[in-house]
Amino acid sequence: MQSTILKTATHLMVGLMLVFAVYVLLRGHHEPGGGFCAALLAGTAFALFAITEGPDRVRRAIRVRPGTIAATGLALAALAGLPALVMNKPFLTGIWWHPGPFFVGTPLIFDLGVFLAVLGAILSLLLALEEN
């Protein structure tokens, strides 16, 4: 789409939106947000980018195929359930680690998997539509 305003705004916005997506992903456990919301945000950012600069730029920017991103996400989410199995608990039970003032646990990995899976799905559809 040929519009100088949109183009300039997009260049400013896309980076900000992606950073914000990471922020939303990480804060999700305590505040509104999470992997799904973050994926939608990042997807919107890429959609904006694709509309102004064309799908080829998006492909170059993400480096890997969107299908790979989605598959990685699914694999991560599934893998996040394995530690529980090792510890003889039901699959996908959250396992937590308390290294200092905060908690780190498998649900974070799971959420990252959700993020990547949904983002990969959005990107696949987006690029297919844009390249059509």
């Binding site: 456990h29 305590h30 989605a70 989410a77 937590w96 799971f110 899976a117």
Partner: protein
């Protein structure tokens, strides 16, 4: 494919991967041999893990005499066949796939014969059905291979459903799912009202798998598979699964006159029909296929008995047949591989060029014909004893066995004499002997046919008796012996050989008469199958064309209409009770949002351009998101807003490329009214449903649980997210799988439209 490839310099003699993979069946065979002495002593090995306890489904395995007999046959032929295939299939482009299917099939077969749980048995049963479909259709670029594979799948798969039904009925009748527990139940099931239903269902399962008349036709057609597959599926394993099933169920369901009468009639008919048809074709493999039908019929016939004698006959013949049939199939495959044809009319004089294969075929056919000194002779003697001892229709059983055996003798002569000793109608090109990998199997199995014929006592003590005792309670000692003395079975044996040579003498005349007679049959099950399939496909096509007419508008109409009718039907009587007009309350801003949403909806409905309509939809979405915000659900509001934004972008990507909306204005007025009524109806229905929901007090048990445990158990304050990634993460995992799958399906559709 195998012969007409002059351009390729050298097709490798054998592929190493195949030879290596044949270690698997060999190792399994060795393991069974380790357990063998204990099983002969009467030990039953049981292993059990829990799988789905609520369904009574356990991973329970059982190794007894019957399982051992089958297991030894399966692994031994499995070994020879994968060794054989490493040469036969050498140079094929899908070797990995081939050996994967082949060994997968073998494992599934072993699963059937070692399962102690009926549902587990069914799982393996279905696995063999699917894998046999893949194996029969292995050369899937041929239309006939695909059709025959589908035929086998439909027939045996359909039978599998009956088997499942039978198992479930058995469970309803109060019988245990565990085979090892059957001994305790006694006559309970045989006197149960459901017994006939159970029997018929299980019988249909066995009949389809083991190709009994009238479900026999898929077996000869399945010969389109590469020869090693035919040998494995149809000589030693797949078709024997039905026989195994009948043997397994014999102590539970057998012994009634229903069981005995049905099995004898069906088995006898199948044996006769298969044996008669074996005279017809010129294709060696097809001949063997019909003789397999005969063998399966005979086995079924003997399982119809309840004496140890007839069951011993079945178990013995099972071994006899597995040995000679696998050897013959492999040898025929060698002939095909080396000469490029397996048509009787084009073969002859192979004795000089393929002497070792000829020897193996000679041993196998002699056993098949039942010459003294061969294992087949022992088998035939006990067959006649068994047939004479049948409880139901002994005369029919004896005559069927006699005629089928005579025909078998003639067919054995045809298979041996014509290709190897005959002169052939056409001078054959110089032929080389098959490589050792392809000779080993037929040679060893042919040799075993002689060895077992010389030491029948050993075979009966170590293989036959343990097998029979594991499905028959009476421990009556039936020994196979070499010579019984002058008695009726011996007379019948001699009669068989005489009749067989007479049939061989007049084979051309008989073949001609038989083929014309079969052509004249006006109703046949293959014909019924074909017309049934055609009718099904035609009506499915017509139905699909009607329903899937390509109009998205029509699809949506159908979906919404069905939904409205289906929900409104049970819901309508309740509506008067909930129609209390709600008092208007709530913050002023909510009222404003309500008005905004209403206005945006109006924009969507009355928009003249697509951009306008999309903008209106965005307004509705944003309004809903803000409503969530106002009522204190920021998380849902955020998600809703993001989803709306992205949806809007996608919609504009798609909708803005469609032709302008003017075209839509030309729709007939009646259709617009119809659509409007439907949308209003759907809206009203949803509204009343919501109002109904508000009348029910809110159940806060789950909410309270999550509120209490979210931070303590999952270290998160955002309950929604904690539910998503922790408490109910398995659901989420399923959902993201669906999301990704849907996206990929969508991508495929988009790409296809681009190409088309």
């Amino acid at each position: 494919m195998k012969t007409s490839l002059p351009s390729i310099e050298k097709v490798p003699d054998c592929c190493r991967g195949g030879v290596v993979s044949s270690i698997l069946p060999l190792v399994l065979f060795g393991l069974l041999c380790l357990a063998w002495p204990r099983v002969v002593q009467g030990k039953v090995f049981l292993i059990q893990w829990s799988w789905v306890p609520s369904l009574d489904l356990t991973l329970a395995f059982r190794l007894d005499g019957l399982g051992l007999l089958f297991g030894l046959i399966i692994t031994m032929t499995g070994f020879f066949i994968s060794l054989y295939a490493s040469s036969y299939m050498a140079g094929h482009q899908h070797l990995g796939r081939f050996f994967f299917y082949l060994h997968g099939f073998m494992i599934a077969m072993l699963g059937i014969v070692f399962s102690d749980n009926l549902l587990l048995l069914f799982v393996f049963w279905e696995a063999t059905t699917i894998l046999s479909f893949l194996l029969i259709g292995f050369d899937h670029h041929h239309k006939t291979a695909r059709e025959n594979a589908r035929q086998a799948l439909l027939v045996t798969g359909g039978g599998g459903l009956f088997l499942l039904l039978g198992i479930l009925l058995l469970k309803i009748a109060g019988e245990s799912m565990t085979i090892s527990l059957w001994a305790a139940s006694g006559d309970m099931i045989r006197d149960h009202a459901l017994y006939p239903a159970v029997f018929i269902c299980i019988l249909i399962g066995a009949m389809t798998k083991s190709a009994q008349v009238p479900f026999h036709f898929w077996l000869p057609n399945a010969m389109t598979a590469p020869t090693p597959i035919s040998a494995f599926l149809h000589a030693a394993t797949m078709v024997k699964a039905g026989i195994y099933l009948l043997m397994r169920f014999h102590p539970l369901l057998g012994g009634t006159s229903l069981w005995m009468g049905t099995l004898v009639i069906i088995g006898g008919t199948t044996a006769l029909w298969g044996a008669v048809q074996a005279l017809g074709p010129c294709d060696l493999k097809r001949i063997l296929a019909y003789t397999t039908l005969m063998a399966l019929g005979i086995l079924t016939l003997f399982l119809g008995g309840r004496t140890v004698l007839s069951l011993t006959a079945a178990a013995t013949f099972l071994m006899v047949h597995a040995l000679y049939k696998a050897a013959l199939f492999l040898a025929v495959g060698s002939i095909d591989h080396q000469t490029g044809t397996r048509n009787l009319d084009h073969l002859g004089g192979l004795l000089q060029s393929m002497p070792l294969t000829a020897l193996a075929v000679a041993a196998a056919t002699m056993s098949m014909a039942g010459f003294p000194l061969f294992f087949g002779f022992i088998g035939k003697e006990i067959m006649y004893e068994g047939a004479l001892a049948e409880d139901m229709f002994p005369v029919f059983a004896t005559i069927a066995t006699l005629v089928a055996n005579s025909l078998m003798t003639a067919v054995a002569a045809i298979i041996l004499i014509t290709p190897f000793l005959g002169f052939g109608r056409r001078k054959m090109n110089p032929v080389k002997e098959a490589p050792w990998t392809m000779r080993l199997g037929p040679a060893v199995m042919g040799l075993l046919g002689i060895l077992f014929g010389i030491v029948p006592e050993w075979v009966s003590e170590h293989l036959i008796q343990p097998a029979v005792f594991s499905f028959h309670p009476d421990r009556e000692d039936i020994r196979l012996v070499f010579f019984h003395g002058m008695n009726l079975p011996l007379v019948l044996s001699i009669l068989t050989l005489t009749l067989g040579s007479v049939i061989y003498r007049y084979r051309t005349f008989l073949r001609h008469r038989m083929n014309t007679a079969i052509d004249r049959l006006w109703i046949t099950t293959p014909g019924l199958y074909q017309s049934g399939l055609d009718l099904f496909l035609k009506s499915a096509g017509a139905f699909t064309n009607k329903i899937q007419n390509g109009s998205l508008h029509f699809y949506l109409f159908i979906v919404v209409f069905t939904l409205v009718v289906a929900v409104a039907w049970p819901w309508l009587p309740h509506i008067p009770g909930i129609l209390i007009f709600p008092t208007i309350s709530g913050p002023l801003i909510a009222m404003g949002l309500f008005a905004f949403i209403l206005a945006s909806t109006g924009v969507v409905v009355f928009a003249k351009t697509r951009l306008c309509a999309i903008g209106g939809l965005g307004g509705v979405g944003a309004g809903v998101a803000l409503t969530f915000m106002v009522f204190g659900a920021p998380d849902i509001a955020l998600t809703q807003l993001l989803v709306e934004t992205l949806t809007l972008i996608f919609m504009s990507l798609v909708l803005l490329r469609l032709p302008p909306m003017d075209a839509a204005q030309k729709r007939p007025r009646s259709r617009t009214i119809r659509d409007a009524c439907l949308s209003l109806g759907a809206g009203l229905l949803l509204t009343t449903l919501m109002m109904g929901m508000l009348q029910v007090p809110l159940d806060r048990t789950l909410t309270a649980f999550f509120e209490a445990n979210s931070y303590i158990a999952a270290h998160g304050r955002n309950i929604v997210n904690v539910i998503l990634v922790d408490f109910r993460s398995l659901d989420t995992l399923g959902e993201i799988c669906v999301v990704v799958l849907a996206a990929w399906a969508g991508v495929t559709l988009i790409r296809r439209t681009k190409e088309g």
